[in-house]
């Protein structure tokens, strides 16, 4: 088990380095000179030189990247060109995105899995068809459309939820955005759970469980469910990263001051270090989530451990 985790961690490192390098290249190939842009009207050649040296801007890209990535491994995400630590921005913005993503994650896991299980157990019946049509719509309606519609209906017309912003704190301000952000994944989870559940209900070991005279509750709850959740857990773990990426749209619809809004703003302002810092953080979370899934996967499926 320990060796398994170590191997997975080692495999994740090249991906982290690769992604950050890719982003680094993308960001610093952006047209325009950030220092010149920073100084605006008051160009000072001397200060410009100092700043360029400080941010290693005249070094080759690979060297710049080296300075950066070693910093990341020391826990230093760097500073903006105005000297503000990026960790400062992160600590201000990140909790919003994290709360939003985790709320969404909870919704998609609970609602998605339950819908999938009931759909599988009532296969071909009314409830199954309802769930199927619901997933079709959730997948088809873009998040920003769904977000706007629900905001108008639940927030403005029925006054059930705050319309926008985070003034009401968690959970009030995050329920509706979380639900909206979760919508697409929730549908995929429901479908995946259904397929996987149907497959395991048909399996030989479930037939054995029935032949043992176990009550139906136990056959489904212990023997079928345990196996059919394995792919679902995998999807959930990989999806945590995508949720944080997708939060960028939900944050805009509901005017939440999270990472997404900051990222969009920094891209338009060409704030390279901020972009790289934030994206690196998102990727890091994605990789950690994947790692957690791998470990969980090995716990859920004992066949993996002994390969």
């Amino acid at each position: 088990m320990g060796r398994f985790v170590v191997r997975r961690v080692l495999q994740a490192i090249p991906v982290l380095i690769g992604v950050t390098f890719l982003i680094y290249c993308l960001v610093f190939l952006l047209p325009g000179d950030p220092i010149r842009a920073l100084m605006g009207e008051k160009q000072d050649p001397h200060l410009a030189l100092v700043l360029r040296a400080k941010y290693h801007l005249d070094d080759p890209l690979v060297v710049q990247y080296w300075h950066y990535i070693t910093g990341v491994f020391r826990g230093d995400l760097g500073t903006t060109y105005t000297g503000r630590p990026i960790s400062d921005i992160v600590s201000q913005r990140f909790p919003v995105t994290l709360k939003l993503s985790l709320t969404a994650f909870g919704f998609e896991a609970v609602i998605g899995i339950l819908a999938g299980i009931f759909s599988a157990l009532r296969r071909g019946k009314f409830l199954d068809n309802v769930v199927f049509i619901a997933t079709l719509f959730l997948i088809s309606i873009p998040v920003f459309v769904l977000g706007n519609v629900l905001q108008l209906e639940l927030g403005v017309n029925w006054k059930l939820t705050p319309v926008a912003g985070i003034e009401d704190g968690w959970p009030a301000s995050y329920v509706l955005p979380g639900l909206v952000l979760a919508s697409t994944s929730m549908a995929y989870i429901a479908r995946l759970t259904r397929t996987s559940m149907i497959e395991s209900v048909r399996s030989d070991y479930v037939r054995t469980a029935i032949a043992k005279g176990l009550p139906r509750r136990r056959v489904i709850g212990v023997h079928a469910l345990r196996n059919s959740l394995i792919p679902v857990v995998t999807f959930l773990g990989m999806d945590l990263g995508s949720l944080m990426g997708g939060a960028i749209i939900t944050e805009r619809v509901f005017n939440l001051p999270g990472i997404g809004g900051q990222l969009a703003q920094s891209v338009s302002l060409r704030e390279g270090p901020v972009i790289v810092g934030l994206v690196t953080l998102l990727i890091l979370i994605y990789l950690v989530a994947n790692l957690a899934v791998d470990v969980l996967y090995a716990v859920l499926d004992p066949r993996i451990r002994y390969e």
Partner: protein
């Protein structure tokens, strides 16, 4: 204890002492598929008594497993349907029982051993858990006691170092050991009847014999009824008391085991026996029954075997043969023997 109860149903055994353990009467099973109705079992009758071993022989698709699953109550319904028939266990028709009543019989009084233990055991639960579940669910035993009993069981089926392996997962065992775990699971509550569906097919030949011997030994010890489903004539010879040969959802021949080998009374049985490779036939071409088993969606009229039968006459294409009692040429009854062939006399005596 005859197994020929074709047209006239035997009088109901009201007394448990004299009634057979299991009696299947005129059982029909059909599957409703997109292509039509597949008639998998078409009027099967058999009985099994305590301590007796019935071998059900047939190719895949002959209905031998479906019959067993119907007895066990594990058919998926739908698509399966049982339009007719009775399955009497200790004189009570299980098809008329409530779900809950049937569930309580499953595992506790009738248990089943499946062919491929690797897929039949749950891959993500330890064998100890899966064995212990029998005691916990049926007897309300505590987790700890159930585990102790599981270890005893594993010892009983001769799994080495049972106490150390009780927390292992099925994939960590060899094929033979896994099948022993299946046997242990079936045996856990000392059922009256065990149905073994091709219990050794997935195993190596050397292991096959060991597992078969174990099963026979345990059956003798506990005086259980055993239904052994197989397509392998070799497995049957040493273990079974009587044999029922199935073809296209019907029993085509029944006989005490050694009589069947000596004097088959149905051309299909004869074909099966002739297709066993034998050492004294070295150099000769192997015999094989020509043609393929019939499509269960369109079972031919008359005897289902007629298209493949070397003896087929016009009557075979018109009239379904009943299971005729088989006698000696002088009319002496041969107990337990029957053949569903219009020309059984020619087959057995000719």
């Amino acid at each position: 204890m005859t197994i020929i109860e074709d047209a006239v149903p035997a009088p109901r055994g009201s007394d448990e002492e004299t009634a057979p353990l299991l009696e299947v009467r005129d059982l029909h099973v059909e599957f409703h598929t997109r292509e039509g109705v597949a008639k998998a079992v078409n009027g099967v009758n058999y009985t099994v008594s305590a301590g007796e071993t019935l071998a059900v022989l047939g190719e895949s698709g002959s209905g031998k497993s479906v019959t067993a699953q119907a007895v066990m109550g594990i058919l998926d319904m739908p698509p399966a349907r049982i339009p007719r028939g009775e399955i009497l266990f200790r004189g009570q028709d299980m098809l008329k029982m409530s779900r809950e009543e049937r569930r309580k019989i499953r595992g506790a009084q009738i248990a089943m051993i499946f062919q491929d233990a690797l897929s039949a055991l749950n891959p993500v639960l330890t064998v100890g858990y899966q064995l212990g579940e029998m005691f916990r669910v049926h007897n309300g035993m505590s987790r700890k006691d159930a585990k102790a009993r599981s270890i005893e069981l594993m010892d009983r089926v001769k799994i080495p170092a049972a106490a150390a392996r009780v927390n292992d997962y099925p994939h960590q065992f060899s094929g033979g050991m896994r099948q022993r775990i299946m046997i242990a699971m079936a045996l856990a509550l000392e059922p009256d009847l065990i149905i073994a569906d091709e219990p050794t097919t997935a195993l190596d030949v050397t292991v096959q014999a060991q597992v078969m011997d174990l099963l026979a030994e345990l059956q003798r010890e506990y005086q259980m009824g055993l239904i052994l489903i197989t397509h392998d004539l070799g497995v049957v010879a040493d273990v079974a008391d009587k044999i029922a040969v199935m073809y296209a959802g019907r029993i085509v021949e029944t006989a005490p085991v050694h009589e069947l080998y000596k004097r088959p009374a149905h051309p299909y049985t004869r074909g099966l026996l002739d297709s066993i490779p034998r050492l004294d036939q070295k150099g000769q071409e192997l015999y094989a029954i020509k043609g393929l088993p019939p499509n269960l969606l369109h079972i031919p009229a008359g005897c289902a075997f007629n298209a493949r039968c070397p003896k087929a006459q016009d009557i075979c294409r018109e009239k379904v043969p009943a299971l005729f009692p088989v006698t000696e040429p002088d009319g002496t009854e041969l107990p337990g023997r029957g053949s569903a062939c219009h020309f059984w006399k020619e087959t057995i005596h000719g």
